[in-house]
Amino acid sequence: MRRLMMWSMFLALALTLVWGCASMDYASVASIAVKTTVKAVEASRPISDSEEYYIGRAVAARVLGTSRLVQDPQLTLYVNEVGETVARKSPRPNTYKGYHFAVLDSAEPNAFACPGGIIFVTKGLVVMCGNEDELAAVLAHEVAHIANKDGINSISKARWTEVLTTLGTETAKQYAGAGGQLITLFEGSIDDVFKTIVVNGYSRSAEEAADAQAVATLRKAGYDPGALPALLNKMMAKTGAGSSGIFKTHPPTSDRLAKVKTGTPGATPDKMEAVRTKRFQSIKM
């Protein structure tokens, strides 16, 4: 009996120790460390991947509030296949919830990259692309804007500082107290991004950086890197047609074209390009 009691005690004590070991996992240790430094980090941290995702969703919802989505599974699948193919070879092959490509029912050629991974291309721009490689060039350029965080970086620094200040306040710990303020700041952040990607367009340097990255991505994916200058040439030829749509959000300037051409020396036609063009043409638009 005494022996049984002894082993029972051993077992209970051992299990308690085991629990101690198991519960003191790396997450607990990390949380203690984080707790002590969080105030300093909170005061300067950048926008997280998940925050970028929620801002991107709201920007996309705003776009879809006024634009119709093409409900064509074949076209949607095709654009997603081309988009995923280039995204995988981009400097940012994955995002918080992945990339998603969709076609907007508009004849005006344009494309938008919402932060976090949703990319819209209009039917008008898909039609303007004469082949799959040019569509890949458009999507690689938009993926580059997401990889470079051009949309999310258009949120004003003052607004983001205010978000962090709000999060640091005591009331933020009780969500209801600071919720209204955070929603207002969220709203303002969406305005900042929307104005950049839909209304005013990116800076010239952001466009040129996205072009250079798109060329590199096309090459890595196996597409013709010359497809981007070819498409820009088409756009340049139509510049006189108007100053809205892609001509405003992604203006095709001669400087931009010259830089892209310099970045694509020795691009030789791929014999498989004909196969890709054929499947592009088989998609009914």
């Binding site: 629990w19 198991a22 990390a30 949380s31 999060l167 929603i183």
Partner: protein, 167 residues
């Protein structure tokens, strides 16, 4: 305090320590290994998606968890060390044995401090919900539809191959 004779005679303390050590080891080892359940995952040099991936990690691969930072796990995989997002794993939380709960029932829930919880928060689903209520004209239903569209991994590989592209 008088130590019971039976404890001394049986070298109980020593046995206790050995037993605890033996029991501790497998629990920790078990907590360090996690299985990747999502396709198209990679190791990243930093705990974010911005950098160039170190190496791809296929679905089904087992990785050793070194440490965590927010939603990111620092892992070892085939001689490489890098970061993977928690979304790559089916279990959002690392496996953990809750023996006190089993033995004594409840009362051992781990809670993060408000500060720790807020460190990774700002624009959250709750903020989005508030925004949606304020702006019913925004079409989040279509956003959900766009996000629900997935390209099958096998079909994508076939598409890449058919077009003479780089896998």
């Amino acid at each position: 305090m008088k130590v019971p004779v039976w404890l001394i005679k049986s070298r109980g303390w020593l046995l206790l320590m050995v037993l605890a050590a033996l029991l501790c080891t497998p629990v920790l080892a078990g907590a360090e290994t996690m299985k990747v359940s999502m396709g198209n995952q990679s190791l990243y040099a930093e705990p974010n998606y911005s950098g160039t991936p170190i190496t791809p990690v296929p679905a089904g691969a087992e990785v050793n968890v070194v440490t965590t930072s927010g939603d990111w796990y620092k892992v070892e995989y085939q001689g490489n060390t890098g970061w993977m997002h928690r979304g790559a794993f089916a279990q959002a939380q690392s496996p953990q044995l809750n023996l006190p709960g089993m033995l004594f029932g409840g009362g051992v829930k781990q809670t993060k401090s408000d500060e720790v919880a807020l460190a990774g928060k700002g624009f959250t689903p709750e903020v989005e919900a508030g925004y949606r209520q304020k702006h019913p004209e925004m079409n989040f239903a279509l956003v959900d539809q766009v996000e629900s569209f997935k390209v099958d991994s096998g079909k994508l590989q076939a598409f890449i191959k058919e077009g003479g592209l780089t896998p």
